[in-house]
Symmetry: C2
Subunit: 429 residues, 2 copies
C-alpha cells in the first residue's frame, strides 16, 4: 500500500462535517479507488466546543488555522471556511507557498483571486482543486476541464444557485410571491438569514466566472459578470411565462466570441422542452456546447453537506492518484485576458413586465417607447392581477438587439404611469 | 513546449474521420489544454482508396494494422476498428505488450476482454482509456471513475443506445409501430442494415457492463447482463404507457448489493417527471446514485462522429497531461468477482401486455394466472386496437417480487388465448 495522503481540514461547518463523515463511511472504498488511504490529520475551526455529531478527538486540533499551511504532517489543506479574503485567502497563499496541495469549495475566493492562486500552484507544482466550488456534487469542473477538453466551447450556461431555483420552483408550484416563499425558505434553512448573495445572483456569478475561465481559456473575470437576481420576479411573471410555454429560471450564461467575453446571471424564460426547464427544487444543472461534442448536460445536487463533500473528496482522490494538472485546464500564463462583450450588441427575445397604474394612455406610452426604439412586439398581455388595483403589462418581443430594449426602457424611466421599474427577463433560445 | 504525443490511428470510418478532423480543427486549443501537441503519425484502415473528405497524405499509411502496435514513432494507438475479437483485440494486446498507451471506442471488446486488457495496461504501466465506448461524447466514464469516486454507488442506469431511443421517440411522436419506424431509420442511416446489436439491447448491455464495473468495483460481467430489446414494443404499449403517465425507454440498469450484481437492459416505463423521460431522439443519458452525492445525471449525444471523436481526443488529452491511472478506477486485481443477483428476488411494479383472441374467458384466464401466482393488479385495460380483430390487455401490477410475475407468465405460456408472447416491461421507480 502506497503512503497515506494526509489532509489538514480548515472549517467544520456543514460541508466540513460532511467531509469527515464521508471519509469515515467510505474509507475502504476510497482507499481502493485512490490507491492509498486518505486521512485527516489535523482540523481547525472557530468553535472547538460545538457538537458536530462526529468524533473529532482523533485529529489534532489547531486553534490558529493559518498554521495548517506549514504542518509537516499534512500533504494537502482543505479549506471550507469561506469568504473571498481574510483567513481563507491567507491559508490558500501560505499553503501553496509551502508546497502543499490545496482543495477548496470557496467560489468567492476563486472568483476574486483564482488567477493568482493558480499561478502560485503551478509555480510550486502542487495541485489546486475546486470541484466543490461550482454546482456542489456535480463534476462539472472536471467535465469542462477534461471531459470536454477536445472542444472549442462556444457557450456554457446553467442553473448555479439552488436557493433561487428552490424559490422559483415553489413560487411556480404554489402561485405565491417571492417575499413569502423566501421567508419560508429561510425558516426551513434552505436560504440564509442574509440571502443577498444567493438571491441577487452574486453566488451564481462567482461560479459562472470560474466555469467561463475553464471553458474558454480566459482569465477569470468576475467583475465583468452582469448579475441580477430574482427579487423582482412576481407570481404573475411566472404565470405569464407558463401561459407562453416557459418556466422562469435564474440562469448564468457565458459566451466567448469575436465580440469578447459575455457573462451574465439573470432570470430567464426557459422553454418547457429545454432540459433546464425540468430542473426543479434545489437542483443545479450546467450545459456546455462544444463544437464537436454538441450539447452536454450535467445535473445533480448543487449544495448540501453530502454532495459538496463528495466533490471535495473527489479532488482528494485525484490528488492521491496523481491525476491533476493546471487548475484552469491550461497553464495560468496562457489564459487570455478577453475584453467584456457589449451586451447591447446581443440579439435575442425579451420578456418585459410593467406594473402600471390603471388609467387611460398607459399602454400607448409603453407601445410608443417600444416603437421609437425599434423594438418589435410579438405578444402583449394586459391583466389586472392584484387586489390593490395595479395592473401588469407583459410583453414578449421579437428577436432584436438588446440595445433597443434598453433604449425603450430608458425612455420609460421615471414615467408616472409605472409603479416601480419594469422587469426584463431574457428568453433562452 | 513539451514533446508531441504521437498517435497511430487504426480505423478510418465515421469516428476515425472525426478524430482526424477534430485534431485539425481544434489543434491550437488542444495543444494549450494538453500542454503539448497531439499529432497523428500513422494510420491504417481497410480501404486506402476511399475518399474520407480529409487529407490523409500527411500520415504514414500502414496496410497491416497490427504493425501499429510496435511502431517506434508512436506513443499511443487509437483503435476504432470495432469487433470484440479479431484485429482489434490483437492490436490491443500487442500495443499494451509493447508498452504503448491504448485508446478505444470498442465497447464489445471491453465487455468481453476488458479485465485482461486492464491487467495488461497496469502491468506495462501504460494508459488504457475508453471514454468513447460508453455514451459517445458524454464523459460518463470519467464521471464515475473520478467525479463520483468518493461515493459508494448503489445503482447506475441510463439510456445507452441512441438508435433505440430514436425509434421509441418516433413511435411515440407519430403513433407508429416498430417495424415501420425501424425501416425508416435504416433508410435515413440512423440504424444499421443489421440492427440486431442495437435493437436487441446487446450494444447497451456492452456499455452497461463497463459502467457497472467502474461504479461498483466489480469485474466486468457482460455474460451476466440480461438483455432484451425493443422489437416487441408496439404502438399500443406506448399509448397505454402515456395514458398512465409514463414514457417507454430502453433502460440499462445495474445495481450492486447484498444479493449480488444485477444488470439488465430492458424496455422500461419511465415516469414523465423522471429526467430520463425527457431524453428524446438519439440522445443518451446516464444516472448514477451515490451515497453522498445523491443522483447525478449526465446527458448528451451518444453517437456520431463529432461526439465520439470528442471522447477519444479527451482521452488523448488526459494521456498527454499524464492524468490517468487504473482504467476501472481501481487496480484490476482488486476488482471483485460478484455473483449475479437473482432477478426473481427483485421487487417492483410491472407493465404486462397480452395480445389476445377476442373471445369469452380470456380475461378470466389471465386474471386467474395472476391470482394464482400472487400478483396483485393495480390497473387493467382491455382495448381492441388493431384492424385484424386482435385485442390487447394491458396490466400494471402493484409492487411485488418479479418471481411471481414470471410464474404467472409461465402459467400462461402456450395458452390458446394468447396471440404471441406477452410483453413485460419494468416500471422505473
Amino acid at each position: 500500500m502506497a503512503e497515506t495522503l494526509r489532509v489538514a481540514l480548515a472549517g467544520l461547518g456543514t460541508v466540513g462535517g460532511g467531509v469527515v463523515r464521508l471519509l469515515d463511511a467510505n474509507r475502504d472504498l476510497i482507499t481502493r479507488r485512490a490507491g492509498r488511504p486518505i486521512e485527516i490529520v489535523a482540523i481547525s475551526a472557530r468553535d472547538r466546543a460545538k457538537d458536530r455529531g462526529v468524533d473529532l478527538s482523533r485529529f489534532a486540533w489547531v486553534d490558529d488555522t493559518s498554521t495548517l499551511a506549514t504542518r509537516d504532517d499534512a500533504d494537502v489543506v482543505v479549506e471550507l471556511i469561506g469568504g473571498s479574503d481574510g483567513p481563507a485567502l491567507t491559508l490558500a497563499r501560505n499553503t501553496l507557498a509551502a508546497g502543499k496541495g490545496f482543495v477548496t469549495a470557496n467560489k468567492a475566493m476563486l472568483a476574486h483571486h483564482g488567477l493568482e492562486l493558480a499561478q502560485a500552484a503551478e509555480a510550486a507544482r502542487v495541485p489546486l482543486k475546486f470541484e466543490a466550488a461550482v454546482a456542489g456534487g456535480i463534476p462539472v469542473i472536471k467535465g469542462l476541464r477534461e471531459g470536454a477538453a477536445a472542444n472549442e466551447i462556444a457557450r456554457v450556461y446553467g442553473i448555479l444557485n439552488g436557493t433561487c431555483n428552490f424559490i422559483l420552483s415553489k413560487m411556480e408550484a404554489e402561485g405565491r410571491d417571492f417575499a413569502e416563499v423566501l421567508a419560508e425558505a429561510q425558516a426551513l434553512g434552505y436560504a440564509e438569514a442574509d440571502p443577498s448573495f444567493d438571491i441577487d445572483g452574486v453566488d451564481a456569478a462567482h461560479k459562472l466566472s470560474i466555469l467561463a475561465s475553464i471553458a474558454f481559456g480566459t482569465q477569470p473575470a468576475f467583475e465583468a459578470v452582469a448579475a441580477d437576481g430574482i427579487r423582482r420576479v412576481i407570481a404573475a411573471d411566472i404565470a405569464e411565462a407558463a401561459a407562453l410555454g416557459y418556466r422562469v429560471r435564474l440562469v448564468g450564461v457565458a459566451e466567448a466570441g469575436a465580440n469578447g467575453l459575455f457573462q451574465r446571471v439573470h432570470p430567464h424564460l426557459v422553454p418547457l422542452d429545454h432540459p433546464l426547464a425540468s430542473v426543479t427544487g434545489s437542483l443545479n444543472a450546467v450545459v456546455a456546447e462544444g463544437n464537436f461534442v454538441g450539447r452536454l448536460l450535467f445535473q445533480g445536487r448543487g449544495a448540501g453537506d453530502g454532495p459538496t463533500a463528495s466533490a471535495v473528496v473527489a479532488d482528494l482522490i485525484d490528488i492521491a492518484r496523481g491525476e491533476y494538472g493546471p487548475p484552469y485546464a491550461m497553464p495560468a500564463a496562457s489564459l487570455v485576458a478577453m475584453a467584456a462583450a457589449d451586451p447591447g450588441e446581443r440579439r435575442g427575445r425579451a420578456y418585459l413586465r410593467f406594473t402600471v397604474e390603471d388609467r387611460v394612455g398607459v399602454l400607448a406610452e409603453i407601445a410608443a417607447a417600444m416603437r421609437d426604439a425599434g423594438v418589435s412586439i410579438e405578444s402583449l398581455i394586459q391583466r389586472g392581477t392584484h387586489g390593490d388595483g395595479s395592473v401588469i403589462v407583459a410583453i414578449v418581443t421579437h428577436e432584436g438587439p438588446e440595445r433597443s430594449v434598453a433604449q425603450a426602457l430608458e425612455k420609460l424611466r421615471g414615467s408616472q404611469s409605472l409603479a416601480g421599474a419594469p422587469l426584463w427577463m431574457h428568453i433562452l433560445e
